[in-house]
């Protein structure tokens, strides 16, 4: 396990007793946790356990119905201004990339900085090209998303989120829709991002990535955090039966 030299003691996301229902279905049953600046948390669990819903509440793509979420000192409420402020500080990467198909890759990236951060077009494009360079796909800037591979699309999506210079990055199963040979190119970029000190919440089934990069692994099941621990403890010495079963199933292949 790697000791994270970037992690601090300042909390950046504080969640207290978060509940969420989809109609009568209780998805989140009181999540209480705190993420620190620079922390990398990997969230895993079976499908339907509420892990995606949980990270989507942090930038208000899902509304929580009870409890409090404070992100970077701002409490999430129905106040649209607060929601937009938080969304500017929180970048998100989706399972299905969700790139804008009618815009070129570089315009996908510059849209937010120009429209939300009020950056000049030129500065935004320079920043976008630098980000694409960092992602290793500078030559794909002027193509449309449909003209590049899935792995490249996901890296454009990461660049789009980073272009807003967020303090926190949320990853919602970023490699689940990728062909196996493209998973590593996306994980490499995420690894590099982790080393740069970004606060990251990653929902993933990539246990190798979790073991290598995470400061903390959280295991969700049926809307509660069953177990959370540093990766070494989590994988080698799980406490709960449910966790043991999950680990044995995911590590089998």
């Amino acid at each position: 396990m790697t000791e994270n030299e970037n992690i601090t003691n300042d909390p950046i996301i504080i969640c207290e007793d978060i509940h969420k229902w989809f109609d009568d279905f209780h998805v989140l049953k009181g999540i209480t946790t705190t993420f620190k600046k620079g922390e990398k948390a990997v969230i895993c669990g079976p499908s339907g356990s509420g892990k995606s819903t949980f990270i989507r509440t942090i930038n208000r793509l899902e509304e929580h119905q009870r409890g409090t979420i404070i992100v970077d000192g701002i409490e999430l409420s129905n106040d649209l201004r607060n929601i937009n402020l938080i969304r500017q500080e929180v970048g998100m990467v989706f399972q299905q990339f969700n790139l804008f198909p009618h815009l070129t890759n570089i315009k996908n990236i510059t849209l937010g900085p120009i429209q939300v951060r009020k950056m000049s077009k030129r500065a935004a494009e320079e920043a976008a090209l630098a980000l694409l360079e960092r992602m290793g796909i500078a030559d794909q800037a002027y193509k449309y998303p449909s003209e590049v591979s899935g792995g490249q699309q996901q890296r454009v999506a990461i660049a789009r989120a980073l272009a807003m210079e967020p303090k926190i990055m949320l990853f919602d199963e970023p490699t689940s829709a990728l062909d196996p040979e493209m998973i590593s190119e996306v994980l490499d970029v995420m690894r590099e991002l982790a080393h740069s000190g970004m606060t990251m919440l990653v929902v993933t089934h990539e246990m190798g990535f979790a073991r290598e990069v995470a400061d903390r692994v959280m295991f969700f099941d049926e809307g509660v955090v069953v177990e959370e621990a540093a990766p070494a403890d989590f994988f080698d010495n799980p406490q709960h039966d449910r966790t043991k079963l999950f680990i044995s199933q995911t590590l089998q292949h």
């Binding site: 930038n59 937009n84 804008f100 999506a157 789009r160």
Partner: protein, 435 residues
């Protein structure tokens, strides 16, 4: 080392076909297809023979040039036609500048318009008329050129002088518009600083057109005297330009999470779609004025514009809503995650994708609206079709219906076909279906 051989370039089989091969494959591949082909050829021959015989030997086309002005402008007074030409010159300037600045589609469009203008400029309609075998003076045609027949033979000096007189004097306005179009194209070339001014010009061109056509003082032309193709184009343009944003707002409204907006939009759309256009025009013309306060009277043409716009917007809203539903929720989420507000999410992410997927439906709506303008004859206004009917209503011209209606049909077709091809070019430019 067989693997190496495999990686060598293998050319695709030759699938090119000559015309003979094509005939064999498609028309004569079996004995019954050969029989069908022969029948079809005979049938086509008979149809075309009939049509050609009528068009070139029997039809009395002289009625078209004689009544051209009625078709184009209806009862618009002859002395004030220059006001229309001023408008056309203004539009030529704007079109020329736009073609220079934006190239692409606008450029192709102006080439098409310029070609039509040039052909109209060079066709010696009056001379065709005068050398035609039928004496048209019995029609009491209200145009001067028929009274002043030009009796010249093609090829003579006098004929050439007449052509020059025709182009440089009688058609000086058309010539002027064309020259303006070309000159402003070269002036506007790559002058990107002019962009905002030209867009502003296009927006101002609408009130300008209305004011110029209406005139003022002793040059006033009551809107009841607007007619012909002129009125058709004005009604259609206003309807199309106005119903589009209204339709988009109604579509967004119907999908709104605010119940008041949602229900108002839904009720509006369903009500208007449940009523025939002709009823809406009647309501606008007869019932609405009763509720108008005092002496206030909304102009008849404006009432028709409002009726057409409100009617068309309801259909437009449903077309747009179809497009909105086709945009995945993930697109909205991605836009929100970047911090875009609702209006910006709609403007930059959702609407561009929604609209381009329903371009065929929207253009179909525009084409329907263009043709629906002919219903204003019940108000009554004398649009292209209405003016035609008023000409044919005179028992003296009976027997010329076929020629006149065919001519009007060709005009309608030309405009709707142009709309259709422009939309296909736009789809190609946007890469619809590709990315």
């Amino acid at each position: 080392m067989d693997n190496l051989a495999v990686t060598q370039e293998v050319k695709p089989p030759n699938t090119k076909k000559g015309p003979v091969k094509w005939l064999k494959d498609n028309l004569l591949n079996t004995w019954y297809n050969a029989v069908l082909t022969c029948f079809a050829l005979v049938f086509l021959f008979l149809v075309f023979q009939g049509v050609f015989t009528w068009v070139f030997t029997q039809a009395k086309w002289q009625v078209i040039p004689a009544y051209l002005q009625v078709f184009l402008t209806g009862p618009y007074p002859k002395e004030q036609i220059w006001q229309i030409w001023i408008v056309l010159c203004t539009l030529s300037v704007l079109l020329g500048l736009s073609a220079g600045i934006w190239h692409g589609l606008v450029f192709k469009l102006s080439i098409a318009i310029a070609s039509i203008g040039l052909i109209s400029l060079l066709i010696p309609l009056e001379i065709v008329n005068s050398i035609a075998s039928i004496d048209l003076t019995f029609l009491f045609v209200p145009l001067e050129f028929v009274n002043k027949k030009i009796e010249t033979e093609p090829g003579t000096l006098e004929f050439n002088l007449n052509i020059i007189h025709l182009i440089f004097f009688k058609r000086r306005w058309l010539l002027g518009s064309l020259v303006l179009l070309v000159v402003t194209f070269f002036l506007g070339r790559n002058k990107h600083v002019l962009k905002q001014w030209v867009i502003g010009g296009w927006i101002l061109s609408f009130p300008w057109t209305m004011i110029m056509l209406h005139g003022f003082g002793e040059n006033t032309v009551s809107t009841t005297n607007w007619g012909g193709l002129l009125l058709t184009l004005i009604l259609a343009t206003v309807g199309i330009v106005a119903c589009f944003p209204l339709g988009v707002l109604l579509a967004l409204g119907r999908r709104s999470q605010l119940p008041a907006i949602k229900w108002v939009s839904t009720i509006y759309i369903e009500t208007v779609r449940g009523v025939p256009l002709i009823t809406i025009l009647f309501i606008g013309n007869i019932i609405l004025p009763i509720f108008m306060p005092g002496d206030f009277q909304l102009d008849k043409v404006i009432r028709a514009m409002i009726g057409l716009t409100l009617f068309s917007a309801a259909y437009m809203a449903e077309n747009v809503r179809g497009g909105l539903q086709a945009v995945p929720q993930g697109q909205v989420e991605a836009a929100q995650a970047v911090g875009l507000t609702y209006p910006k999410t709609m403007l930059f992410i959702v609407l561009p994708q929604a609209l381009r997927s329903v371009i065929p439906a929207i253009v179909g709506q525009f084409i329907a609206l263009f043709k629906d303008t002919s219903l204003v004859y019940i108000i009554p206004l004398f649009d292209l079709l209405g003016a035609t009917k008023s000409v044919l209503g005179n028992p003296k011209w009976q027997g010329l219906q076929a020629e006149v209606y065919l001519f009007v049909a060709v005009i309608y077709f030309a405009f709707t076909y142009a709309m259709s091809s422009v939309s296909q070019k736009i789809e190609a430019d946007l890469g619809v279906g590709k990315h």
